[in-house]
Symmetry: C2
Subunit: 399 residues, 2 copies
């Protein structure tokens, strides 16, 4: 399966990366010198973008002068080339551009194109200028914080990139029956607002007439918060399910105190997770005191024995230093040296198949590393023609 990607930043490149990890040949074209994401931080000590490296692992790279018609035609030819295992294009180019579906499908009517756009109203938008409109920054952070708090994880980009992959595969399944292509347009704003609605936020505000207040690190509607152990470790504890809740209370030997509180309030915390939320001040105080009386090691041993739900707060550095789940001991990850010269732990596909052995985790190409190979394999151009394209400055190889 061959996917062609003409894209930048996170969403559409993550779609391409997902296909790499599923075994596809993914060809990414970029302008000569790189697109707008080619120098995005973090940078390697030699200056290369490790952000670009992370999102473009295992892709073949061709660099084309996209400012000239002849270069644009090359890009269109690559996107539309090939047989029934090709004709898949992933992009974040605008609806109206030389890479419009109209232009592409004129060359190949059965093309499947997936286009991640910004705002559904046609305005340009990035994750950050969509997220501010979702209400999440007003739900994030301490109840005392005066201003909205942006989360750092670009969630709408990631969700849009993965939905792009879903959309492409679903359209492919249909094309195999009908022979017909299509374009699927995925605005970040529709991804964000639809997710907000799917998770009940729209229903909640419609029903109550009010926005959900900030809860700090507490979870909404059930039991969950961060707590600190006697030796100063911070852990997140959840009691969403009956088993997690009773496990927690058992591990902390709080059965009698909880029974007393339940009797005084006339509630049953085990059967009613809403009561765990409504009475959270009393529960948090009781549980914080108990957690603060244990050191981390004996506490978490007790929690695990009782099947309570908890996780340790750690920075990325702490995770890298201490957590086997983010280490070469986890088959999802391998140490790799990347074109920028740095060696670091590199991720493969997060899903593990019962039938397939993991391939080595691929590294990113150099920009233009596969320019000649792509022109040969995909377009069938002769060495002479390829030389001519280089002479005209229409394509470039790796430096």
């Amino acid at each position: 399966m061959r996917i062609v990607e003409g894209a930048s930043f996170i969403a559409a490149p993550l779609c391409g990366l997902t296909f790499v990890q599923l075994g596809a040949d993914v060809i990414r074209f970029d302008p000569i010198g790189g697109g707008p994401d080619y120098n995005r931080w973090p940078l390697a000590r030699g200056g290369a973008s490790m952000y670009w490296e992370g999102l473009n692992k295992g892709k073949r790279s061709i660099a084309i002068d996209l400012s000239r018609d002849e270069g644009r035609e090359l890009a269109v030819a690559i996107a539309t080339a090939g047989g029934e295992d090709a004709g898949y294009f992933v992009t974040n180019y605008p609806l109206k551009s030389f890479l419009s579906y109209e232009n592409l499908s004129a060359k190949r009517p059965d093309l499947i194109a997936v286009r991640v756009t910004g705002s559904s109203d046609g305005r340009n938008a990035l994750d950050y200028t969509v997220n501010c409109a979702t209400g999440y920054p007003f739900m994030t952070g301490s109840p005392d914080a005066p201003d909205p708090v942006n989360h750092v994880m670009p969630v709408w980009d990631v969700a849009a990139g993965l939905l792009a992959a879903v959309s492409l595969l679903a359209a492919d399944r249909e094309r195999r029956q009908s022979g017909k292509g299509r374009e699927i347009v995925l605005p970040l704003s529709d991804v964000a607002f639809a997710t907000l609605a799917n998770l009940g936020h729209v229903a909640e505000v419609t029903t109550t007439g009010k926005d959900r207040p900030r809860l700090g690190n507490a979870t909404y509607g059930t039991f969950g918060r961060d707590f600190v152990t006697r030796d100063g470790k911070r852990i997140m504890i959840v009691g969403f399910t009956r088993r997690q809740w009773t496990g927690l209370i058992t591990a902390l030997e709080l059965q009698a105190d909880i029974a007393k509180l339940e009797a005084s309030l006339g509630v049953n915390f085990t059967s009613d997770e809403g009561a765990r939320f409504n009475q959270r001040d009393a529960l948090f105080a009781m549980i914080a005191a108990r957690i603060g009386s244990y050191d981390f090691q004996p506490l978490t041993k007790r929690l695990d024995a009782a099947h309570a739900g908890w996780g340790l707060y750690q920075t990325v550095k702490e995770a890298l230093d201490n957590d086997p789940r983010l280490s070469p001991a986890n088959p999802v990850f391998q140490m790799q040296t990347h074109p920028g010269g740095e060696t670091y732990l590199t991720a493969g596909y997060p899903g593990t198949s019962s039938t397939e052995k993991r391939e080595p985790v691929a590294i990113a190409p150099k920009l233009g590393q596969h320019t000649d190979a792509v022109l040969t394999d995909v377009l069938g151009l002769s060495a002479a023609k390829i030389g001519e394209l280089h002479d005209k400055g229409l394509v470039q190889g790796a430096k």
Copy 2:
């Protein structure tokens, strides 16, 4: 295409919902009385979970007594029934359970099962107890905040649910050629750590030896932050691309001030987005003063004319009251009355296809609403046999 879902909470149900929206017949089985997510907040005024409604729209629901062997066998039979357009199972049941792949594939060797689990080390985990381990809470919030800040959006659940859909479709593509089934296991922790690595965080910490500091609402490595207009509106502004940056400076008529700053610092903000980040204190001060001198309407008119990147901060209520993108004017959304009795804006698939008309947005079933229909359609049971299952209390219809 028929997908069977035996799942709770967000990730696996979101996978099922995605298939509903792509036109599949999705059958969800639940224990009689509902699973651990059946009462999750927010609740309708009549008590029904609107969270459950949001994630289970358009599914067919069968309620089975899963505590008894005979009920468990029914669930296994439903998950493994059908022809080549069936045999797809999505779950968050543990690896070892009556719904293990071993048990299921014994009945149907070509079954494709996608299983979202908690932690890759076998411990139970939810989004919240994974997220604390990723480092994001230490990057989120004000630089002055003493403690980590959880984000509210359950990103790992959403990413895992969408990756589950990708994994299923990719395995299906392969099964059509080989005839072979498989299980794909997707731990939330692998989804989280792999994403962290794909986005460059692991490379950054490895290269610098240090964790990324908190930046409040500023973006890392380029230009972006929230600003407040003269009339008190808060907007997020990004200058990631050359066009966004020059658009912003043009709209604000800051060309001369920026040129002076560039000369004094010996940098070029247009060509070097890293300089926009390194010199952010000076830039933020200059731009905040200018933004604060405009009212929202004239300011955003200027920004749009210059193709600058911006978005308005709004709460969910403000979005529902004012934003056409989250309204019935957007074809992704429709007003629907749900089984819990509430009427609210309901989302369809966020992707819009060039070839297909949108179907009406489906509503959630009542628990057990399709019990008899599923037993008939999927298992081919007679009315007498179905009556017997009801009499034994092994299945239940909707109340």
